[in-house]
């Protein structure tokens, strides 16, 4: 186990271009999950209805509105 951890630590320490790439990955993940997901992409059905039964009823209602 120690050898595996050492392997990863040495690998990360020895990175050159990898540092830039990791920075891009982390910034990207931050924007995706802490900005976009939190503020712009709520789950529509989860946000507006409390139970799966309510969600089902809403979807059926929406589908069956059409004549």
């Amino acid at each position: 186990m120690k050898k595996i951890i050492r392997f990863y630590i040495d690998g990360f320490k020895g990175m050159t271009l990898g540092r830039t790439l990791w920075a891009i990955i982390l910034i990207k993940l931050f924007i995706l999950f802490f900005v976009l997901k939190l503020f712009f992409f709520p789950d529509f059905l989860k946000k507006n209805f409390n139970t799966d039964k309510e969600r089902s009823m809403h979807v059926i209602e929406n589908f069956t509105k059409t004549k």
Partner: protein, 521 residues
């Protein structure tokens, strides 16, 4: 159906999904293909012990690393959109999408985090054999990640192995293997990954050609071209085979898409294949203004009938047969399908009403009727048509599908020729002298990306108006949210992806200019 949601919301939601899916797909196919090319290059190094091959492998591994880092997680945005913009669709598809995506997430995480780390950090730290196995497993893992999302996409094009539950309004998987091994899923997976292999082959040849033109790293470039060209050539042959299989499945499951791909309006026996054609911007068919007439086309007689049915005189339906019906060929008219779809929706409505109003016996009878094999086969099968108000809504944008399909096929043919020429010139020792070919090779790199985009446009625009074939049209799948919010996030995505693309191109061109000098990662 337009009373349910306004059209600008549908258009912006579709536009946003298309934008993010196409940007995401700029990164994916290179990863799918280059990992296998890396594995082949490293295998040669393992077998020969020639350090030049190690240098070659490490350089392309660096290119792969850049592409992987920039592209990773860009697909998650699509999942965000499912929950927000496409909530009715997400609910309707139930666990069909959830299960494959969960498997993909777990598989991608374990395979990629383990073996990519060994690939990059493990040189001279693990045995050569273990390193090589890790590189192969990264290639297999990356391609298996693509498998699950393509299985889900194939289900949308051909929903099988599931049953709709009228109590929950969700589709439930009744046979995993029917979903996983449906001919469309298998073919879509193979066709998509082989297109990624072709892209990677062209990409490596293009970059290597640049090195030769600059008179730098010539041996490295020639060796890279040889491996990429042979790999690309074999992948191209496979791509043609799976493409042929795709067309046959489309003819069977999505005949309207095939008619749009070929600009075929009136079906007949012995249909020719349109090799090339241009639509009139103004002249349309007198029966339907969505059907633009050809100004010019080159048609190879009987080939389409032969390709689809292995019979040069077989009947292939056109758009009008699919809209008006064709009794002789046993094709239902769209009006008939719409009325059956409306019947399915009405039965669901009556079932829901009788349940909520406490009429239990009636509800039970309606449920029994809804779930009966006869009702499923003759009415629920056309559930999505019940949302359609005008038959013309069933016709996708024919010029867009037609041109995209023909661009894809023409470019695909060029890539096959390109790989043959590359192999020939390397083996003949002529490559360094053929400066025009080397320039063409660089120019072919953007073309292979255009072919990828064209392919997805055929697959996704060609199936409109459906998000789930025959069961759920796009307009019924979209959430009732504020169109303004979708517009804002559309531009946010456009900005983020453009920044990522600029970063990719800038970092990659810098590293390519540095060349295969050191082993840093």
């Amino acid at each position: 159906m337009n009373e349910i949601v306004d059209l600008s919301l549908i258009d912006w939601s579709r536009g946003q999904f298309a934008l993010t899916a196409l940007y995401h797909w700029l990164f994916v196919p290179l990863t799918l293909g280059i990992t296998f090319i890396l594995a082949i290059m490293e295998t040669i190094y393992y077998k020969t012990g020639n350090e030049e091959w190690k240098k070659i492998t490490k350089f392309w591994m660096k290119v792969f690393g850049i592409n992987f880092a920039i592209g990773v997680a860009t697909g998650i945005i699509l999942e965000f959109q499912f929950g927000t913009n496409w909530s009715y669709y997400s609910w309707f598809v139930g666990d069909i999408f959830g299960a494959p995506l969960a498997i993909e997430g777990i598989m991608a995480f374990f395979m990629e985090s383990t073996f990519i780390a060994v690939m990059f950090f493990g040189w001279d730290k693990v045995s050569k054999r273990f390193h090589l196995v890790s590189t192969w497993l990264t290639a297999i893992g990356a391609n298996l990640s693509a498998l699950w999302i393509l299985v889900a996409n194939a289900w949308m094009q051909n929903p099988v192995g599931t049953k709709f539950n009228p109590d929950t309004a969700r589709n439930e998987m009744v046979n995993f293997w029917d979903v996983f091994l449906s001919p469309l899923a298998v073919n879509k997976f193979l066709h998509t990954i082989s297109s990624g292999f072709v892209l990677a082959g062209v990409f490596i040849i293009g970059i290597s050609a640049w090195f030769i033109l600059k008179k730098r790293e010539v041996i490295f470039a020639k060796k890279s071209i040889l491996v990429a060209a042979i790999f690309g050539f074999l992948s191209s042959l496979f791509l043609v085979t799976t493409g042929d299989g795709s067309a046959r499945l489309v003819a069977l499951k999505q005949p309207m898409k095939l008619a749009a791909m070929e600009g075929l309006y009136t079906g007949k026996n012995g249909v020719g294949l349109v090799a090339f054609g241009i639509f009139s911007p103004t002249r349309t068919d007198p029966e339907n203004s969505k059907l633009k007439e050809f100004i010019f086309k080159i048609e190879i007689p009987n080939v389409l009938s032969y390709m689809i049915h292995q019979d040069a005189n077989a009947f292939v339906p056109g758009v009008k047969d699919l809209i008006n019906g064709n009794e002789k060929e046993k094709i239902l008219s769209s009006a008939d399908k719409i009325s059956r779809g409306k019947m399915a929706i009405e039965t669901l409505r009556n079932y829901k009403n009788s349940l909520t109003e406490g009429r239990k016996d009636e509800a039970m009878q309606l449920r029994e009727k809804f779930m009966s094999a006869d009702f499923q086969d003759n009415y629920f099968k056309y559930f999505g048509y019940g949302f359609i108000t005008n038959s013309s809504e069933l016709i996708p944008s024919i010029p867009l599908v037609f041109y995209s399909f023909h661009i894809m096929v023409i470019l695909g043919t060029w890539f096959l020729i390109f790989f043959i020429l590359s192999i020939y010139l390397v083996l003949k020792g002529e490559l360094t002298r053929q400066r025009l070919f080397l320039r063409i090779a660089i120019f072919t790199v953007p073309l292979v990306y255009i072919a990828q985009m064209a392919g997805w446009t055929v697959a996704e625009v060609g199936r409109q108006p459906w998000v789930v074939q025959d069961l759920l049209p796009t307009m019924a799948a979209v959430s009732k949210i504020n169109a303004g919010a979708v517009v804002v996030t559309f531009w946010l995505f456009a900005l983020i992806f453009t920044i990522l693309l600029i970063a990719e191109v800038k970092i990659m061109t810098t590293q390519i200019k540095i060349g295969p000098k050191d082993g840093g990662h």
